[in-house]
Point group: C2
Chain length 422, copies 2
């Protein structure tokens, strides 16, 4: 997907500094790309007027002049929000930008438009198609963000993940997708779904840009690559351990193991007991219970317009008892604590499948988040690496995972791997 | 505060069932009480029109006909929200009720009006006065909810706590105040401040009503009193262990110890190491960092109108590094895990000070949340017991605290104690 010579955020800013282009030039390039390609891809719900680009000025901005796609469940003052409802719910006027949009603007970024989301970021698909094969789903729920980044329509786009809504579309579309540790970036002004798992993250075509966005949004130090991966311990383990896994993914994992080893890492099969596999079911319980609470008002007013799967989930959540919900939360908490000890004692990162295979055919569904549910419930940072291809030349991602709040370490390891691979 | 013969939610519903009053009668009584008393107390930001009471009908409603005060940082479709800003920010039209308001309506409750909040639920006071002495603060940030319940203007009111915003005003106003385990009730449609601590809770004049609201909002089984407190281990420990503590509070704690022992509990001084005292400072770090992120848009547009203390906090948060923030979160997580072992091995509940003393004089500040900060950061359920009085006959609360997700156990123990005391 990445074309030679294509700008990263850093290289663009260096070109602006050298006077080779002006700071609105990336914005205009993106606008043109959208004009040319979005009739097919349908990644955008709406766009900012092309005259409205204005870079907020302040010193040391890391995202100055960088166009950003904003998932359509995130409030924006200048564009409506529809939460993937196809119009049965539209934001009222006088809404403020969500906190993260203001944080991006402070860093000089330019919101370019709203990217298509599935309905309330659950399963009912929007109109977006996979840029690599428009007969296939881009994945969801951050469908438009993943597709827009993959199609080269924008260098950076915001997504959210409550089950597999960043990692899965990133895998299907062949881009980097990063879900940081739960609660890393404020969800204020973003429609909640299951608050103990809802996490804001982002997509990019370059590993460096994933890192720059992290630094910009957390105001932390720049992520540095290591000299190599010697001494880095990588545990290989999918959650669930047994599931619907295509040969494409097995092969992508195996190729990634080789790349990690070539960079100096030691890779081993990580034994995790059966409790971790049960997290898939616990995730479903927490998702249903919290969604039924959180979307109570939306369901009350618009239940009849909602997609079948969302209605099913809310009804299932309404029928879930507090005791069962609590039991699932406590099971997750036990695994979270146990996994922290695993990370401390045995593995710096875990390598795992991002999705069961390449993007499925058809646009009626967004694929299965099964290989993301447990990690999302655990709240750990996850990064999709778009390094391999499967059948029909379609991308197959794998994910690297670290302990909670080890985001900088995770990104540093990935950056080092990428420097070796490229 | 509690008048003899005054209705609880259960007794009101029994009277309705017997045909002694109609299901709107409590609503009308509350409206009349507000007319009579709110000129002095100033607990309400706005009221529902008296003609608009309409009980939503569905079977098994636990709060049928119960008027409820809604803190003014919680979205309501039929009333504006001002977030304690005195009008520099007002909710746009077409806003939906926050999730919790819909959950209350489903249970038959009647939102009666919006109760005064401090500015964005931080320190800048609203107009509310303490019903027990109008020259004193009611505490904050849930000032109007605590005062309205204390003054008998409403039997139940919603509050939120990020530092000490439920427990402290409950103590100052002499009512029960309950902050459940973090994330127990959805925060969707409520203005976030520091999401890893923001917790929705409620005030009532009766312990039974605190329990009924818990059952209604979580759809869990009714809370039952135990025969007595024999076998219940109560650990006495304030956080911080050393701080500004009036004799009134020392005495209230000591009287509560006696009451617990009379009910059969064994009470002992709980040793907790110095790390727990450090949580006060970690709370401040997390509060500042998250508030600066979460209120980024509000600060961008309205920073010049904001109160001095809020601006200071946001500036402090902006200057706080990601590394320091993460260190505070990790310190809290360590204590959370250690405290779970303490609860499992040594104590069913902890007894602690709610506030440094009775409500301070003056309306320029809302008192010090110091004795709540650590517990809020730990995410544990906390209940203010309004059982004692201090100087000038003013109430002095103490709090009972349990491990995360042991809310039912905590409420059951408190209900048993109350049955013994009353």
């Amino acid at each position: 997907m990445i074309e030679r010579g294509e700008d990263t955020i850093d290289s663009f800013q260096a070109r602006v500094a050298r006077g080779e282009c002006d700071e609105l030039s990336w914005w205009h390039t993106c606008q043109a790309e959208i004009q040319a390609r979005d009739t097919d891809i349908r990644a955008w719900e709406c766009l900012m007027p092309s005259t409205s680009a204005e870079v907020m000025s302040s010193p040391g901005q890391l995202l100055r002049g960088v166009p950003v796609g904003i998932k359509d469940i995130i409030d924006t003052a200048e564009m409506p929000t529809t939460w993937g409802t196809e119009g049965y719910l539209v934001s009222p006027g006088a809404v403020m930008d969500a906190a993260v949009v203001t944080l991006l603007r402070h860093q000089g970024a330019l919101p370019l438009g709203k990217t298509v989301s599935t309905e309330f970021a659950y399963f009912t698909p929007g109109k977006t198609r996979n840029p690599l094969d428009i007969s296939r789903t881009p994945g969801g729920s951050s469908s438009g963000s993943a597709a827009a980044v993959a199609a080269g329509m924008v260098p950076l786009a915001l997504g959210t993940q409550t089950a597999g809504s960043i990692i899965r579309p990133a895998s299907y579309c062949g881009v980097f997708g990063f879900k940081p540790t739960l609660n890393t970036v404020s969800f204020s002004g973003i429609k909640a779904f299951a608050p103990s798992m809802d996490t804001l993250g982002w997509f990019a075509r370059h590993m460096d840009d994933i890192c720059t966005a992290f630094t910009a949004l957390t105001r932390s130090d720049p992520i540095k690559a290591l000299p190599d991966l010697r001494g880095i311990r990588v545990g290989l383990r999918n959650l669930p351990g047994e599931g619907p896994l295509d040969y494409d993914v097995v092969r992508a994992l195996s190729l990634t193991v080789k790349q990690l080893e070539q960079a100096g890492a030691s890779v081993f099969t990580l034994p995790l007991d059966a409790r971790y596999d049960e997290l898939i079911e616990h995730h479903k319980v927490v998702l249903a219970y919290e969604a039924a609470q959180t979307l109570a008002s939306e369901f009350h007013h618009h239940g009849e317009e909602m997609g079948v799967k969302l209605v099913e989930l809310i009804e299932q959540g309404t029928a879930t008892s507090y005791i069962d919900y609590r039991a699932s939360l406590l099971a997750a908490e036990q695994c979270r604590q146990a996994l922290s000890r695993v990370f401390a004692d045995k593995a710096d990162v875990i390598l795992a499948a991002s999705a069961p295979g390449v993007a499925p055919e058809g646009l009626h569904a967004t694929g299965d988040p099964i290989y993301c549910r447990a990690w999302t419930l655990l709240g750990v940072p996850c990064l999709n690496l778009p390094l391999h291809t499967g059948q029909a030349g379609l991308p197959v991602g794998v994910q690297l995972i670290a302990d909670r709040w080890q985001d900088q370490r995770l990104l540093s390891i990935a950056k080092t791997l990428l420097a070796t691979v490229m």
